[in-house]
């Protein structure tokens, strides 16, 4: 199925999978479609899915008082889930919500447990994917400490320029831990600098 190609490529980064093995995997995959601004998981619910984004845009956040603190913005080719709830079974402390209409390729907890039991290859894929999530998380923390507000802004702009068009500014500001006013100021400052350099 063509829709699964990107997911196949994603898995191939971690383990070698033969066409036969992938055919065995297919019945465990669920294609799930959501409109924009739909919550997949809410606070206190249990997360039952690990989701790969085939198309669309999704954010993960928690509430601090009335503020929404965004900890992940995920696009095509990314995994998103209320991962601690998914991995440990505790109620979710996060909301996972679509920003755009989104198509997911999802694996339920039960499916993953079955896959683990079928072949150690899936155990290995699981281990390597979780390792990657752990490493990403540490990078995220260190980047927040190592770089100044302006550096974080520029780094994000350089590596995720497309998201500037797709994601509401207040979401990006929250994700980068930058005050919305500072965010606007940095945007204008950089726009001016780019314009000066290009002309």
């Amino acid at each position: 199925m063509e829709m699964l190609d990107e997911f196949k490529k994603y898995l191939a980064k971690y383990v070698e999978i033969s066409p036969v093995e992938f055919t065995m995997l297919e019945p465990f995959l669920q294609i799930r479609n959501f409109d924009k601004k739909v919550k997949l998981v809410d606070i206190a619910e249990e997360e039952n899915y690990l989701n790969f984004i085939e198309k669309g845009l999704v954010r993960k956040f928690f509430y601090k008082g009335r503020d929404e603190i965004i900890t992940q913005i995920a696009k095509e080719g990314d995994l998103i889930s209320s991962s601690v709830s998914f991995l440990s079974g505790v109620p979710s402390s996060y909301v996972v919500e679509t920003i755009e209409p989104t198509t997911f390729i999802s694996l339920s907890k039960q499916s993953i447990e079955k896959l683990y039991a079928i072949h150690s290859k899936w155990q290995r894929a699981g281990r390597l994917i979780i390792t990657d999530l752990l490493v990403q998380k540490e990078y995220w923390e260190l980047d927040r400490m190592k770089f100044t507000t302006k550096e974080r802004f520029v780094r994000f702009l350089t590596s995720n320029g497309d998201l500037f068009q797709r994601v509401p500014q207040k979401y990006l500001a929250s994700y980068l831990n930058i005050q919305p006013e500072t965010f606007s100021r940095l945007k204008h400052f950089l726009r001016k600098r780019f314009a000066e350099n290009n002309l």
């Binding site: 603190i69 991995l87 155990q123 281990r127 490493v135 998380k137 540490e138 923390e141 260190l142």
Partner: protein, 202 residues
């Protein structure tokens, strides 16, 4: 580094430590044993310097290891690992890239370690190691996520009280400045918050 301690003395500690993650029988455990080694460090020893590739997954048997990063002249403490905790530069260990973080002992410290090569070999050769590895990494991921969550979600006062209630002895073991940094609290605020602990002590 002095390496005179026999790992055999810590067999039970290690067996119990591993049981926390997944069921493993004595036979599989015996197969794993050759991959472990002991390391011993005096107090205030840098065991991983910035720019080195971290080659070890360490479990603290006794002592205390601090993980920190230097940023614009400041030291920010990221982890305080005591008995039974795992400590390493996860990024450096898994990506084989030079470490940004520094590991330093705050007390004389005994570690049980497995090096990167050992981990890969054990995963290849011991059937149950793959599952065990996954469960350990899952645990590390959950711990890390929970810490970030509490750092971002909780107020200074909540962070202070939550930590001090669970780890009251750390005030004796760790310089206040380092504890304050770990909890992301200004040293002056930290001193002020200490009065909250007094009634509980009497």
């Amino acid at each position: 580094m002095i390496q005179t301690i026999d790992i055999g003395a810590y067999c039970d500690f290690l067996f119990q430590f591993i049981q926390k993650f997944g069921k493993i029988n004595r036979e599989e455990f015996d197969a794993l044993m050759p991959y472990f080694k002991m390391r011993y460090f005096e107090k205030r020893t840098i065991i991983l310097q910035k720019g080195e590739v971290d080659d070890y997954l360490n479990v603290v048997v006794q002592g205390l290891v601090r993980k920190f990063i230097r940023v614009r002249g400041n030291e920010i403490t990221l982890q305080l690992a005591t008995e039974g905790h795992m400590v390493q530069s996860e990024v450096s260990f898994h990506t084989r890239m030079p470490s940004d973080v520094i590991l330093e002992t705050l007390e004389p410290t005994t570690l049980i370690c497995m090096d990167y090569q050992g981990v890969q070999e054990a995963l290849e050769k011991i059937p149950s190691a793959e599952e065990l590895g996954r469960l350990i990494i899952t645990y590390m991921f959950i711990r890390k996520d929970s810490r970030y969550y509490s750092q971002l979600k909780n107020t200074t006062r909540e962070r202070f009280l939550e930590y001090m209630n669970v780890h009251p002895h750390m005030l004796q073991r760790v310089p206040q400045k380092i504890l304050a940094s770990y909890l992301n609290i200004k040293p002056e605020t930290f001193s002020r918050l200490k009065h909250l602990l007094r009634p509980a002590k009497i």
